[in-house]
């Protein structure tokens, strides 16, 4: 089996001139090479944040700085793993994951001894578990960031003015399947070889052990390399250069049609060029929202799962800010989805007919991890304007599971515009409860 591969770490497009390829001009082969090259480099633009948890506007950490001897439990158990984030998403082709954290020194843990809770020592570990699936196989990767522990009494935070800023630590760890130096392995995890060629999917979990004081913990995509078995099709890059070798010599001084119908990889086919450009246009897009109900200020130290956001409302109610005037309010808080304007599609947001250049929509898939206990039925709907909504996601199981729905949301024209996404929930009957722990909003591949 033959493979083609290109390293895309730090790749960046340079937008070559297209004039020589336009009508009436004598195009040269170097213009063709430049177009192929840009397709490969485009994959290097990804730095999507796919998971985030931390202090995030809460002034108070879950882990306190109080006396570690107490009547009731005030610190987490040393051995308990406390899940603070779950997410699912599709990986950008050629990208792997990097976990990165900023923290202040970790706090204490407790154990129960002789009728009271006492210190069990300071500890702070942030654990990441990612299950990669490519339609043929799956691989689970576990990584850990170990946090420095506070040397103060009770492993407390230093309490002088601004002390947090002098005690900010950062660290990272790569989350990747094993043996990526093997080109076949790299090909297996760069992209999927199975229809509908949607990409490698990931289920990600972040958990804390001990007295972690997380300021900002994220997982984001980093471009690594893109590799394909040359007998496959529907690539996300043309792979014009292979693994750092010199660029291919184009067989003609002028652009010619190369149907690429012969077996094997030539990397120079105009057919492949168009197919790849189409795939990049259809499948690449932002990850707009990644959210967990974990709140440092209110999450109990004994719980091993995120305390869910709940509603028992019989009418649509915004779940994070229940004071929001339903169904949507420009004044109320929400998530910004203006980056959706970077990934518009011609059939719903072309600037001449569909939206006339005044506005834009982005097609998305929304994932929610939710449950409706005790025979309840709950519904979720998302609005980015009163007129722009998607849903309804029906939650009807008492066991937490992933639910998803697709739709189009108004996203504005870019960062200088405004597009605020709000999440509404309701239940079907009196006495029912809808519980939500996690939300991911990702671009919907075509």
């Amino acid at each position: 089996m033959a493979y083609a591969k290109r390293i895309i770490a730090d790749a960046d497009t340079t937008d070559p001139a297209l004039g020589p390829l336009s009508g009436g001009r004598l195009a040269k082969s170097d213009r063709v090479g430049a177009v192929f090259n840009q397709q490969d480099l485009l994959l290097g633009h990804g730095r999507r944040v796919v998971a985030s948890v931390g202090l995030h506007l809460s002034p108070r950490f879950q882990v306190p700085s109080t006396n570690t001897t107490s009547v009731s439990q005030t610190y987490p158990l040393k051995s308990a793993s406390r899940v603070c984030y779950r997410g699912t998403f599709t990986l950008t082709p050629g990208h792997m994951l990097r976990a990165q954290a900023v923290w202040t020194p970790a706090g204490a843990t407790q154990r129960f001894a002789a009728g009271s809770w006492v210190s069990d020592g300071g500890l702070g570990m942030i654990n990441f578990t990612a299950q990669f699936s490519n339609g043929l196989a799956s691989e689970t990767v576990n990584r850990t960031i170990v946090c420095d522990v506070s040397p103060n009494q009770y492993n407390a935070e230093t309490s002088t003015e601004g002390a947090m800023f002098g005690e900010l630590y950062r660290g990272f760890t790569e989350i990747r399947p094993n043996d990526l130096n093997n080109v076949a392995t790299m090909a297996a995890w760069s992209d999927t070889a199975v229809a509908p060629f949607a990409g490698v999917t990931v289920e990600l979990t972040i958990s804390y052990r001990g007295g972690v004081r997380p300021v900002d913990v994220i997982v984001y995509e980093v471009p690594v390399a893109y590799a394909r078995d040359v007998s496959t099709s529907n690539w996300a890059a043309a792979l014009y250069e292979e693994g750092g070798k010199p660029a291919k010599a184009y067989p003609s001084a002028y652009p010619v049609l190369a149907l690429n119908t012969a077996p094997g990889h030539t990397g120079l086919g105009s057919t492949r060029l168009v197919e790849t450009a189409t795939r990049q246009r259809d499948d690449l897009g932002p990850l707009l929202v990644t959210w967990t109900a974990w709140s440092e200020a209110v999450q109990g130290v004994a719980a091993t799962e995120t305390a869910a956001l709940e509603t028992s409302s019989l009418t649509w109610t915004e779940m994070l800010c229940t004071s929001t005037a339903a169904p949507w309010s420009a004044d109320a808080p929400g998530w910004s989805i203006t980056c959706g304007a970077n990934a518009r599609r011609w059939d719903t947001s072309d600037p001449y007919q569909a939206m006339r250049g005044n506005d834009a929509v982005v097609p998305v898939r929304i994932w929610v991890r939710a449950a409706a206990p005790g025979g309840s039925t709950g519904y979720l709907r998302f609005h980015s304007e009163a007129y722009s909504a998607m849903g309804d996601i029906e939650v009807n199981s008492g066991t937490y599971a992933w639910y998803s729905q697709t739709g189009h949301l108004r996203c504005g024209l870019g960062a200088e515009d405004t597009a605020t996404l709000q999440m509404l929930g309701m239940v079907a009957g009196v006495g029912m409860t809808l519980s939500v722990r996690n939300v991911t909003v990702e671009y919907l591949k075509n």
Binding site: R47, R48, L55, Q100, E167, A277, R344, D359, L413, A415
Partner: protein
């Protein structure tokens, strides 16, 4: 000559628009590119054997009409003369809209604010494939006068259709069960999915976009791989030109938000800030540009920066109030982007590079409890990128520029949300911008 209509689009199969008056005589005139008028039968409009409206999925059906809570009748139908078989049917039934395909009721949605008096409504039923088997429909209704919207979403099997079916505006066949045609002001049938945002642009009110300084990309048109003549080694052009253009337009597709922070209701009480900055003290540090401001440590995010961005725009959602007799004082906010932050446990580095948004001074008096709060636009700033390809962002704030007045002492604020969105803006002649982070 028929005037052009902005709602006649390339996918429009039929468009009749009598919102300017003229009733059925005007409604029957087809404003689409087909220019095939319907037959005006006084109480209904019809096209027999309407292949152009024999649409299953994707499809758009829009109607603009007046209705009261007693009106009933079929508004739009594509089916046989007996009404026993049809592709789609839109039925108004005493204050509600029912939509059907192939004899099956798919959804029912009440007309917002319907009353005994006629109100103007616009509805759009838009359908697309979701996966390879099922269709996903969105039904959107707008009370044009009151501005309220109602939505329904439903999944179903794509409809079967027949080019032999007739297309009716009002009723089926010879106008059986017709909705009063005098109340129908516009109808459009389209061949592609239309989002509810497009519905609002076309039929309710056009959006006035803000001034955009960022480099925007257009979504490129589709092109099939066989665009060229299929002769190996023949001269080629469009494939290379289009692909090169497409790559340029796609180069920012992966750019995602830098930060999207929200706090839940239950955590709001823990997040009340005042000018003592003591909740707790270690969380706040004097800002670098002006010691009257304090960095708020709970707003710190440390995020990677895409190569195709060089600026961010930030907004913060707050609640504010006074616990004293007088209103709250003005508050000042600015967002920093920092490279080279002196993280603990690392070798000493040169001084950090930082940029910050032009500080904004606002007076917010929303109350603290059971309110929505207010968004504050922090503006934009360049991004300072460090050796990890990341930037540390933090909000700095002040109460009346640290005046220490009694009213400042009484002011309370809660930070509810913080959004940071990246973009690319071509720098100016170099005096302020210097080297761009990346090429345009």
């Amino acid at each position: 000559m028929t005037a052009l209509n902005a709602n006649s689009k390339s996918d429009t199969a039929f468009l009749g628009d009598a919102r300017g008056g003229g009733g059925a005589a005007v409604l029957t005139v087809d404003l689409s590119s087909h220019r095939l008028d319907l037959t005006n039968n006084a109480t209904y409009l019809q096209e027999l054997a309407s292949a152009r409206t024999a649409l299953s999925t994707p499809r758009e059906i829009t109607a603009y009409f007046e209705a009261d809570d007693n009106d009933a009748g079929i508004l739009i139908n594509h089916g046989n003369a007996l009404g026993t078989a049809y592709t789609y049917r839109v039925f108004i039934k005493a204050g509600a809209v029912e939509v059907y395909e192939n004899g099956v009721l798919l959804a029912s949605l009440d007309l917002p604010n319907v009353s005994p008096v006629d109100r103007a409504y616009a509805l759009q039923w838009s359908t697309r494939m979701d996966g390879s088997i099922s269709a996903q429909s969105e039904l959107t209704i707008c009370d044009v006068t009151g501005g309220e919207y109602a939505h329904a979403f439903f999944r179903h099997t794509p409809a079967s259709t027949s080019a032999a079916y007739a297309f009716n505006v009002c009723g089926y066949g010879a106008g059986v069960s017709a909705f009063p045609i005098a109340k129908v002001l516009a109808v459009r049938i389209g061949r592609r999915f239309h989002s509810s945002a497009e519905f609002k642009e076309d039929w309710i009110a056009a959006t006035t976009p803000p001034t955009i300084g960022a480099t925007l990309r257009d979504p490129p048109l589709p092109l099939t791989a066989d665009v060229e003549q299929s002769t190996e080694a023949a001269f080629a052009g469009p494939a290379y030109l289009w692909s090169g253009y497409n790559t340029r337009q796609s180069d920012r597709r992966l750019v995602s938000p830098v930060a999207n922070l929200r706090i839940i209701d239950a955590a709001l009480s823990a997040g009340i800030l005042d000018n003592t900055f003591a909740t707790p003290r270690q969380r706040y540090m004097r800002a670098w540009h002006d010691s009257r401001y304090r960095f708020a440590g709970q707003t710190i995010v440390y995020r990677p920066i895409s190569p195709k961005t060089n600026k961010v725009r930030a907004r913060v959602s707050v609640r504010a109030a006074s616990v004293g007799a007088n209103p709250p004082v003005d508050m000042q906010f600015t967002l920093y982007s920092i490279a080279g932050f002196p993280f603990a446990g690392e070798a000493k580095k040169p001084k950090p590079v930082y940029y910050y948004t032009t500080p904004v001074s606002v007076n917010v008096n929303t109350g603290l409890v059971a309110v929505e709060g207010e968004w504050i636009d922090l503006g934009e700033t360049r991004i300072a990128v460090d050796d990890w390809g990341c930037s540390l962002f933090v909000l700095a704030m002040a109460f009346d520029l640290d005046s220490g007045s009694a009213d400042a002492d009484d002011t309370r604020v809660i930070l509810q949300a913080l959004t940071i969105d990246p973009f690319y803006e071509v720098s100016d002649n170099g005096y302020a911008g210097g080297f761009d982070l990346s090429l345009p």
